[in-house]
Every structure is written in structure tokens, then in C-alpha cells.
């Protein structure tokens, strides 16, 4: 049986089809998320490159070092879990600079920063302290003109 075009359906009908396409993923993907969470925990435990991301008032230079390090790993990490975790920490360094130091350490446009923070905030494998950091950074980038 053929199917007709979706063009002409109501917005609600299109939304229903998209929602079906976005239903929760299967067990394999849950295991993948657990792998990312484990990699993230390990990286955060690094005293020089992980700990400053959750410290109350970290030195800006340490955050810039961390950002550069995690960016490199996000692009060239050994496996998908490592790259995903490193991407989260790259954004965490940017977020911590905004929230903890009031400084911008990236050329990413504000819109992309906000989207990255929001996306990571929603990930089940992101720990609560980072989720809170992303939430505050998203608010900061939205209201402060100098971060835009």
C-alpha cells in the first residue's frame, strides 16, 4: 500500500508523526548512555582538567586549558562515549567561565552556546552539578549582551 504526502496534514498530525520518530531509544542506546556517564565521571575526576569545572571560583586560565583539552578530545577521542563526554566538558568549561568568572572564552555565537547548554542539560547521563551549571549558563548567555 502506498502512502500519500504529509503536506496538508494538520500541524498536530505532523507533530504526532515526529513524536513517533523520537520515542525513547532501546536498551542498546541506554547502555551507550551509561558508557558516556562513566567516561564523564572519570574525566571530571581529573584534578587539573575536570575539577575546575565544578569549583566555586576557578581560575580562568584553568578553564581555558580545560576547554582546549576537551575540545581536542571531543574531536579525536578513541570512541563515541569518550567524544560525547569530552564535548560535554568542553561546554562545561565555557559555561563555568560565564557563570563562575563572568567571562566569555569561546567564539561560538550566543545562540549556539545556549543550544549546546540546553541540549546537554537534557541528557540523562549529565550529572546534576553540571546540569545546574548548564542551566545557569544558559540564563547568563541569554541576558548578558557582552556574552552575545
Amino acid at each position: 500500500m502506498a502512502h500519500r504526502s504529509t503536506y496538508g496534514l494538520t500541524s498536530r498530525q505532523l507533530g504526532r508523526l515526529l513524536a513517533i520518530g523520537r520515542e525513547p531509544r532501546d536498551e542498546g542506546e541506554k547502555a551507550e548512555a551509561a558508557g558516556i556517564a562513566a567516561a564523564l565521571r572519570e574525566m571530571l575526576a581529573d584534578a587539573e582538567l575536570g575539577a575546575p569545572l565544578c569549583a566555586p571560583s576557578p581560575p580562568l586560565a584553568a578553564l581555558e586549558r580545560a576547554k582546549n583539552h576537551w575540545k581536542e578530545l571531543a574531536e579525536g577521542g578513541e570512541d563515541a562515549a569518550q567524544r560525547a563526554a569530552a564535548t560535554a566538558l568542553y561546554y562545561a568549561a565555557i559555561a563555568q567561565a560565564l557563570v563562575g568568572c563572568g567571562e566569555r572564552i569561546t567564539h561560538l555565537p550566543a545562540e549556539r552556546q545556549a543550544r549546546g547548554f540546553a541540549r546537554l542539560e537534557a541528557k540523562p547521563w549529565v550529572p546534576a552539578e553540571l546540569r545546574d551549571l548548564f542551566r545557569r549558563a544558559r540564563a547568563a548567555v541569554a541576558v548578558a549582551p557582552r556574552f552575545r
Binding site: 502512502h3 503536506y7 496538508g8 494538520t10 500541524s11 505532523l14 508523526l17 515526529l18 537534557a122
Partner: protein, 264 residues
């Protein structure tokens, strides 16, 4: 028969190089007119309807929106301006395209050129443009929401056609039929799903449990194809699920306007 994107069978592995919208544009760089148009054909096919809907909701009438759509595709998309400005680091292709479209429309001189070119219709053929109209569902929507509606529709049409073709090519026509009866029909007709026993009888499936498994398989494949398709339009650090979520939110806004939903 391999499907698009290097899939070897329904749900099978064997994915090759994944072409993104950005990589299509990069490939088009330096190509001549005809080769460039060939490289960008997929983009043209996917985006001209959203562009038209966006322009209609910007206030242009049917003819002006069609002329501008034709002009934008010919001058900017295929003509090379978009290719020259392309930067995958800019993230979502949608935002990049709409920025280019706004710039194009803002130029009265270019709009005039588009109008002059349209009757000749020579540069880029947009199949279906002549009879195309704004969908009832987005008559009162914002330009962005109208764009998203048409883009979501184009994505879903493409994904459903691909799923059906895969099912037929891999001897799994019954998977498609089960998916159609249980998932598509209820959405398209706003009706109850076809009962599993009826589907089993019609398709000669011996057990309902087997039909359920077929449904799960087809649904997973639909999800994978949709995520892959959406993934082609975004940067490497973005998640297709986020884009799908944004589309769902945008569609819910599109129907918030008065009279946005057609009466049944």
C-alpha cells in the same frame, strides 16, 4: 538492494560515508553550473517548499512568493552565494538558509531580477511549484513556523518513502503494511489503528506476536531513518532528537494561531 546512505537491508549495518547538507555544499564548491545543480539537487528538493511557505507568511502573495522562491534557488542556492558562504561550524543548516533567504529578500534589486527570470523558468526546475499552495495548517502561522511545517513534511515524506522502498526491496512488504495500518493510518485518518488480528488475517501472518515484532522493527527503522535524515542538516555537536523536539514545539506554535487548523 542497498538503500540510500549505504544501508544494506532494512535495519542492517553497512553505512558508508554519511552525506550532510554541509558536505553537499562543500562538494558543490568549484563545480560548474550543471554539476553544481546536480550536487545540490537534494537540497533544492528538500527546501524549496519551506522557502515558499516562509515567504508566504512573510506577506508575499502566491505569485511573488513563487518568483522569489525560484530566484532564491537559482541565484543563492544553486547560483553559488550559499556555497561560498558555507561554514559547517555555523551549526544548523536551517538557520544558515533562513539568514541567506532574508538577505536575498531584502535586496529589492535581486527580487526584481527574480521576477524577470521566473517566466523564462530556465535555470532551476522546481517540480510542483506551479500548483503549490500554502497548507491550511499554517495560514496563520509565523514565517518560521510555516517553514518548519513544510520542512517537517518534506522530511517525513522522504523518510516514509525510504522506509517503504527498503521494506519492499528487502522482501518485507508486510512490515510496511503493519506499520501503515498501526501507525500511519491512525495519524493520517485520525482513526483507530487497524486491529492486529485483522492485519494478520489480511497479510497471512500466523501470530499476533509476530505482527507486533514486525511493527517494532519497522518503527525502529522509521526512527533511525528520521534521526539520520535530520542529522544531515545539523552540525557535528548537535543531537537530531533536539532538532526533532524543536520541530514538534514549532508545530505546536503553528497551530496556536486562530484558524490555523483546517476544519474536518
Amino acid at each position: 538492494m542497498p538503500g540510500r546512505g549505504g544501508e544494506t537491508s532494512m535495519g542492517g549495518a553497512g553505512r558508508g560515508f554519511e552525506q550532510t547538507h554541509w558536505s553537499l555544499i562543500v562538494r558543490a564548491q568549484g563545480a560548474d553550473g550543471a554539476r553544481k545543480q546536480g550536487a545540490l539537487a537534494a537540497l533544492v528538493g528538500e527546501y524549496w517548499k519551506p522557502v515558499y511557505c516562509y515567504l508566504r507568511r512573510k506577506g508575499y502573495d502566491n505569485e511573488a512568493a513563487k518568483d522569489l522562491t525560484q530566484g532564491f534557488v537559482a541565484d543563492v542556492l544553486v547560483g553559488g552565494e550559499l556555497v561560498r558562504a558555507a561554514d559547517p561550524g555555523k551549526g544548523r543548516f536551517r538557520a544558515f538558509l533562513l539568514t541567506a533567504l532574508d538577505r536575498y529578500v531584502a535586496s529589492a534589486r535581486r527580487a526584481e531580477r527574480a521576477k524577470k527570470r521566473a517566466p523564462a523558468g530556465a535555470l532551476v526546475s522546481l517540480e510542483g511549484l506551479d500548483g503549490f499552495e500554502l497548507a491550511d495548517s499554517v495560514h496563520d502561522a509565523s514565517p518560521d513556523a510555516a517553514f518548519d511545517y513544510a520542512w517537517a513534511s518534506a522530511l517525513l515524506d522522504d523518510v516514509l518513502a525510504e522506509l517503504r522502498a527498503e521494506c519492499l526491496a528487502s522482501g518485507k512488504a508486510a512490515h510496511w503494511e503493519v506499520f501503515h495500518g498501526r501507525v500511519l493510518l491512525p495519524v493520517f485518518e485520525e482513526a483507530a489503528p487497524v486491529p492486529l488480528p485483522a492485519l494478520c488475517r489480511r497479510l497471512g501472518i500466523e501470530a499476533e506476536a509476530k505482527a507486533s515484532n514486525m511493527l517494532v522493527t519497522a518503527k525502529r527503522r522509521f526512527q533511525a531513518l528520521l534521526r539520520r535524515r535530520v542529522g544531515q542538516s545539523i552540525g557535528p555537536d548537535e543531537d537530531p532528537d533536539d532538532v526533532i523536539g524543536d520541530l514538534i514545539r514549532s508545530l505546536s506554535l503553528a497551530r496556536a494561531g486562530p484558524g490555523a487548523e483546517p476544519r474536518i
